[in-house]
């Protein structure tokens, strides 16, 4: 379980807050989507969970342990991270990319190769075909599959995903979203997922936290947000696509 209590972040000593006093509970096995437009503080929030960014105030607990007391490098290795920019290592093969965290932890070569095999299969990349290739030989969608496998290879309980499918075309994005749901069913991870795409949020989320200007407008199950928006912002966010969906629904009947 991840618990954020009154967490804030200011990059300019308090003149302006990127994240203001937010509190969140993320239960084991659930997917929480941080939804909001760019600059709303969702990525900052995500990065504070594994201490890529240190909070200015508040407390973040991971499995009842205060994250501030955990060694930051150990913490990062114990939490999978999928990056918006993918960030595969261009000088390492797919296999070496996937097992890099195991290498950091000093695991043997055979153990690393076995793990890379296993996780490549889970993200639907044939290890026989792709293990020895290099990132530049892969398509964007394949690269991010490797990115997901890399995040999972050390078998972390938690997975942080920062707009991982944002740069992909709509069809590939859709395929990877479905893939992620399948993976989640198979390996039961707790996921925090950042996106600005409402439909992506609706597809993946058990809970959605709508963020705007550094604060959380509303947290809840997607239905709850749609049926009873707590603020005008949430209402606006769901109103237009909601209307479109209803129209679609009626036309299909």
């Amino acid at each position: 379980m991840i618990r954020l209590s009154n967490v804030s972040k200011s990059f300019d000593d308090g003149d302006h807050y990127a994240v203001k006093n937010i509190s969140l509970n993320i239960q084991k096995g659930e997917t929480l989507v941080l939804l909001g437009s760019s600059g709303c503080g969702k990525t900052t929030t995500l990065k504070m969970i594994n201490r890529l960014i240190e909070p200015s105030g508040g407390c973040i607990e991971i499995d009842e342990r205060d994250a501030a007391t955990i060694d930051p490098i150990e913490l990062k290795r114990s939490i999978g991270y999928v990056f918006q920019g993918i960030g595969l290592f261009p000088h390492l093969s797919v296999e070496e990319n996937v097992s890099i965290v195991l290498r950091l932890m000093g695991k043997s070569k055979s153990e690393r190769e076995a793990s890379a095999q296993e996780w490549l299969e889970i993200v639907s990349l044939d290890p026989g075909l792709y293990a020895k290739r290099y990132p530049h030989e892969l398509s964007g969608g394949q690269q991010q599959r490797v990115g997901v496998a890399r995040a999972l290879a050390a078998n972390p309980d938690y997975l942080l995903m920062d707009e991982p499918f944002g740069a992909l075309d709509a069809i590939t994005r859709d395929a990877l979203q479905q893939e992620l749901l399948t993976i989640k069913n198979r390996v039961a991870k707790t996921i925090v997922f950042v996106t600005h795409d409402l439909f992506e949020a609706l597809t993946l989320a058990d809970q959605i936290a709508v963020m705007n200007d550094g604060i959380i407008e509303q947290v809840g199950h997607p239905d709850e947000l749609m049926q009873s928006p707590a603020t005008n912002f949430v209402y606006q966010l769901f109103e237009k696509p909601g209307r479109q969906l209803r129209l679609l629904h009626e036309n299909n009947r």
Binding site: R77, G85, G87
Partner: protein
Amino acid sequence: MNDSLYLFLLNHLPALGQKTMEHFILTGIAVSGAILIGIPFGILASRRIMVRKIFFTIAGIIQTIPSLAMLAFLLPFLGIGVIPAIVALILYALLPISRNTYTGITEIDPSILEASDGLGFSHNQRLYLVEIPIALPTIIAGIRTAAVICVGVATLSAFIGAGGLGDFINRGLSMNNTRLILLGAIPSGIMAIALDITIGAIEHKFSWKNKS
């Protein structure tokens, strides 16, 4: 004429071998020294803006000093012989190596560095597993430039008694003997080209850009 050229080469062959070897060793020691100093400074410059400013300013000024003037300048401090020659060569080789190390590291895609930090690389792991390997082709390109510069400058080291192929050139100049001049100039030219090609091949081998 052809006969005498043949005799000339035959007579000078042992000396040519020795001078070529001296020249090569002089260059080799200087480039190795510059690698040992230049790479750490290049890395440091990518971390600390003050190091970058001070180091590259000094190295840049050194680069503009004409080689003969540099040797003359070192004379009162280090005298004559191999040591001042090596010092001068290292000073010239320093800038291309450190500059390329710095460039190679700072031009790495930020998303790759973010990934290293986010996945839990320690500082040293990030340097040895990510930054240096990715910058390596650029660093080797700097070593290549440095080696070619050194082969050229090393011909002048003969003026301060450091030996090498410059000896032939010096003697040729003072005796007005074109053959002797060319006996020094042509092999040093060949050495520069050979080093350029060899290090270029190494650079290609270490380049991850064409791995597959």
